[in-house]
Subunit: 209 residues, 2 copies
């Protein structure tokens, strides 16, 4: 679908059709969009958890303000941010770069040390905040890509992230639940789909210097 | 361009062709992508500043680590976040909703009060952080949309945001410089375009529960 048409077509779906499932080919595209999304320094400080178990989705429902999308959408994606960026994560990234680009490892030592120095100066909470921001880049690309494929999404910040961390054992994995994104197909009886889109005017949003 | 092809084609452009300019039709599409991007509560706590004045771009260059993209790219977009969300901003959003959807204003009073209560509980710094996150959603959509149009972008967090605020008088406008995004066309002699893309493997990034 054309970009602008897709952005006008999409909306934060309130009610999904629980019978319609995203097919395997579209899921492959979605996974590749998630994987290819750029991030600061290319570190991809994220983990993408697809929650398929219907029982687990029921358990998470009350911690998501009982929003029916959590159980009814074809797929439920939880975007998690790493809480920390450790030297070993930077080493792994450098190793990956060396392998993919077939470089001399010695040529990358200086760059790795630079990253460790720069990132090492950040506080724990600054690192988490930085990683969380990268999750929002992914969300932006995901929503646009899905809309172009005719797939509905509901971006959600409104859930009990600490409770999600606890239930899914994310703390122990150095992760933090950041964004929840049910994906699938709108129900024909979701009235929200007929609401004209509310956006600020060009005059309010843009300035040229 | 196909989504996956576009994501593979794009890269953080290091050197732009200073002679090639984005045409007016593509700029209109870019502006509409920025305008239509979703945000929390639909508040769009952002301002998009296109910095066209070549002299001003030269002034900003040393505060952007002298990255040549700031002066050489066809267009330079600065995504700013509002520092605060005031009751009058919420009122303006409600008024906009009432107008666009042709609603009875009384029906929206409760929702406006709910937003004011919820957002009023946030600290000043939490409000700014929240607004900043919305800028990253925009960046994600913008990079994907531009790539599909064959337009190069360089997402930049690495600039002296406080200095930008000072030079552009953003504080007085309740704004904060958040992301810088030069846009245009890669130079044929930018070697970075030939580097194979480095991304984590599916095994590292995905989990299914």
């Amino acid at each position: 679908m054309d970009i602008i048409k897709a952005l006008n077509w999409r909306y934060a779906t309130k009610k999904f059709d629980p019978e319609r499932k995203i097919n395997e080919s579209d899921l492959r595209t979605i996974r590749e969009v998630l994987r290819l999304t750029p991030s600061s320094y290319g570190l991809q400080p994220l983990k993408f958890i697809f929650i398929e178990d219907p029982q687990l989705r029921k358990v998470l429902l009350p911690h998501s303000f009982n929003q029916s999308q959590v159980t009814d959408a074809s797929h439920l994606l939880l975007i998690c941010s790493y809480r920390d960026i450790r030297n070993e994560d930077i080493d792994a990234h450098i190793r990956n770069t060396v392998n993919i680009r077939n470089l001399d490892p010695d040529r990358m030592t200086g760059y790795g040390d630079f990253m460790k120095r720069t990132i090492g100066e950040l506080s724990e909470s600054s690192k988490l905040t930085w990683n969380v921001k990268q999750a929002y880049i992914v969300l932006g690309q995901l929503m646009l890509a899905c809309a172009q494929m005719g797939i509905d999404t509901t971006p959600m910040e409104g859930f009990d992230a600490d409770k999600f961390d606890e239930i899914l054992g994310l703390n122990e994995k150095n992760l933090h639940a950041t964004l929840l994104c049910p994906m699938g197909y709108r129900s024909t009886d979701d009235p929200a789909q007929y609401n004209p889109k509310v956006r600020k005017s060009e005059e309010d949003l843009f300035e040229t210097l």
